[in-house]
């Protein structure tokens, strides 16, 4: 236990910044490289780092498997939900222009929500992969 002190402290310090970076990649995706997929992977990497340093059980207590499995479907549902909303508002499926009063704002809102859906699904899938493989043979 005492030999990995540096690792534990350092990763504890890093965790919030990893999440912050994930959110930066997510929301800066409009203007620079990035987007939901990359942000989702970075976010999941935070959970995986926590699991590697503090153990799988601790990670599963912090982020329960049922939550990550629900995230997989929930993110995709958000994506599809945006599409359905635009259909209900009279546009085609995933036509963001009808989401707000002005087409440009609608496009902005639409892509933001859709990318959020991607983030949720990708993060959920990555963590589920990790839990599944790490939990084998126990």
């Amino acid at each position: 236990m005492k030999f990995d002190l540096i690792l534990r402290i350092a990763s504890k310090l890093l965790l919030p910044f990893i999440l912050l970076f994930a959110l930066y990649v997510q929301f800066h995706g409009d203007y620079g490289p990035g987007g939901g997929f990359q942000a989702g992977v970075i976010g999941a990497a935070m959970v995986i780092l926590y699991a590697i340093i503090f153990g799988l059980e601790a990670a599963k207590r912090a982020v329960p498997p049922i939550v990550v499995e629900t995230m997989i479907a929930l993110g995709a549902l958000l994506f599809a939900g945006v599409g359905v909303t635009s259909m209900l508002l009279g546009g085609e499926f995933l036509n963001y222009s009808v989401l707000a009063h002005e087409p440009a704002h609608g496009q902005h809102l639409g892509i933001l929500l859709v990318e959020l859906g991607v983030l949720i699904t990708v993060a959920g899938t990555m963590v589920t992969f990790f839990y599944t493989f790490a939990g084998r043979g126990r």
Binding site: E69, A76, E92, F93, N95
Partner: protein, 492 residues
């Protein structure tokens, strides 16, 4: 609402799949999947009747007009395949409840229905889309969910079968996307209609020919054209019964649809059949499938594997129709696409009923089963006769069209080969008939009896369809003739 139908055809099963995943309970997921899959034929029927009366339907995804955005297109052929896939998907669902409950453990059942609906979504998507790359995405959606469904089979070999299919399927999809990429690099478009208009200018350039080769090989892997069929027998044999029936009836058919689209709509007969030896290639491979796979089927002990090899042989008939490339032959191929879906779907459901009762499909375990499960085995014989192509059944209609199509070319020998390969199917179906009806019941089947009504009715419906479409061909042959005409006319 009517304007949104093309999107709904794909979006409803997608939403249903997500709802199943969130439900996490097998029973609830089954209910959602049933409601969703029953809505699909309604949508498909509305689309088909609209396309037949008012001409091709075009829908711009996300409001981006084609050829820039993704276009959904419904014409006679795609509407026809949509209807076929969604009807099979709907008919199987009532059957699925008991079959899935007996073959898949509770924690995986909701996921099974999720995968089922995702697969349905992918197959409908490939059919409805008018965009070559979007077709690749849906190809992957349906394939990935298929791998997961196969891996859920009870037998441990299911995992290996799923892995084998994963490798082969991925190679197929990669080849397809390489082909699409080459086309894009030359023409700068992904829209199928737009591609069809631009390809003639560059038709003899190397990238276009390479693209054609990649796409044909990639899609042939997916449709299990002999000798690219090796993934199919294990996948169908070890998948859960519900999945076997659904995949056998729909997955390869949709791949054939994609092949038709590329050969006739995108590249056009002028390139594919007039200047390249595609007729000969397809002719040889189809005949090899009809004989090779049928002979292998005769020697199978596992009846699901036997039906799987027979599927490879039957796909040979369909590709034979493509190879003939005249109106009658194409009609025969397309009619066989639907007839074989009904026949094979029905046969796999009946074998699933056998698994449900005695837990095995080894031919020796089935001795005397006809006396214990008379309706199941009686229906098996009828569907078997339809597959052989006995006059008065659906199988006869498709083979008749194929034979006439071959004669129009003056290829009499093909007619003889058609009859000869039908005799091979008499042998493998006859072998089952002999064992289940003419032998004393063994101990294994002593307790067996016919399955409950909710499993029986779906199977009988498909078997009844495989006889009915042999008598009344208005829905099958007439629409197939229309589709064949449109394909051979091309868009140009």
């Amino acid at each position: 609402m009517m304007d949104q139908l093309p999107a709904l055809q794909v979006v409803i099963p997608l939403l249903g799949a997500l709802a199943c995943a969130l439900a996490r309970h097998g029973g609830v997921a089954w209910f959602i999947a049933t409601v969703v899959s029953w809505a699909m034929p309604v949508v498909a029927w509305l689309l088909l009747s609209q396309a037949l009366s008012g001409g091709t339907i075009s829908y711009s995804m996300g409001g981006w007009a084609p050829p820039w955005g993704i276009e959904y297109r419904v014409d006679a052929l795609s509407g026809f395949v949509l209807l076929l896939v969604s009807i099979v998907g709907a008919v199987i669902m009532p059957y699925a409840r008991r079959s899935v409950a007996s073959e898949i453990e509770e924690k995986n059942r909701a996921w099974f229905y999720t995968m089922y609906l995702l697969c349905l979504c992918g197959l409908l998507g490939i059919t409805i889309t008018g965009d070559a790359f979007n077709a690749f995405v849906f190809l992957e959606v349906s394939s990935l969910s298929t791998y997961a469904m196969i891996a859920m089979g009870k037998d441990r070999r299911a995992l290996l079968a799923a892995y084998q299919y994963l490798i082969m399927g991925t190679i197929g999809a990669t080849f397809y996307v390489i082909g699409v990429g080459l086309l894009y690099s030359v023409t700068g478009t992904l829209n199928m209609v737009d591609l069809a208009q631009r390809i003639p200018e560059v038709e003899s350039t190397r990238p276009v020919l390479a693209a054609l080769a990649f796409i044909i090989v990639g899609v042939s892997l997916k449709l299990a054209l002999f000798p690219l069929h090796v993934w199919l027998p294990n996948a169908y044999a070890y998948a859960p019964s519900t999945a076997s029936a659904f995949l056998a009836a729909t997955a390869t058919k949709v791949a054939i649809y994609l092949m038709l689209r590329f050969l006739f709509t995108v590249f056009g007969v002028g390139i594919t059949f007039d200047s390249l030896p595609i007729t000969n290639i397809f002719l040889v491979l189809s005949l090899a499938a009809m004989f090779g796979a049928s002979i292998v089927a005769i020697f199978q002990d596992n009846l699901k594997r036997m039906l799987a090899y027979s599927s490879v042989a039957q796909i040979g008939y369909i590709t034979l129709g493509i190879a003939l490339a005249n109106h009658t032959g194409m009609t025969g191929g397309i009619v066989h696409l639907i007839n074989h879906a009904m026949i094979k779907g029905g046969l796999f459901l009946l074998l699933g009923a056998v698994v449900f009762r005695i837990g095995s499909v080894k031919i020796d375990d089935l001795a005397g089963l006809g006396r214990k499960m008379p309706i199941t085995m009686g229906a098996f014989v009828i569907a078997g006769l339809s597959m052989i192509g006995v006059p008065g059944t659906a199988g006869f209609i498709s083979k008749w069209f194929l034979a006439v199509g071959a004669m129009e070319h003056g290829w009499w020998w093909i007619v003889f080969l058609l009859v000869a390969s039908s005799i091979l199917s008499v042998v493998y179906i006859g072998r089952v008939v002999e064992v289940v009806w003419f032998r004393e019941p063994s101990e294994k089947v002593a307790e067996a009896k016919d399955v409950p009504l909710d499993m029986m009715v779906p199977a009988l419906l498909l078997v009844a369809a495989s006889v009915y479409f042999g008598v009344d061909t208005r829905l099958t042959a007439d629409i197939a003739a229309l589709a064949a005409e449109a394909l051979l006319g091309g868009v140009r």
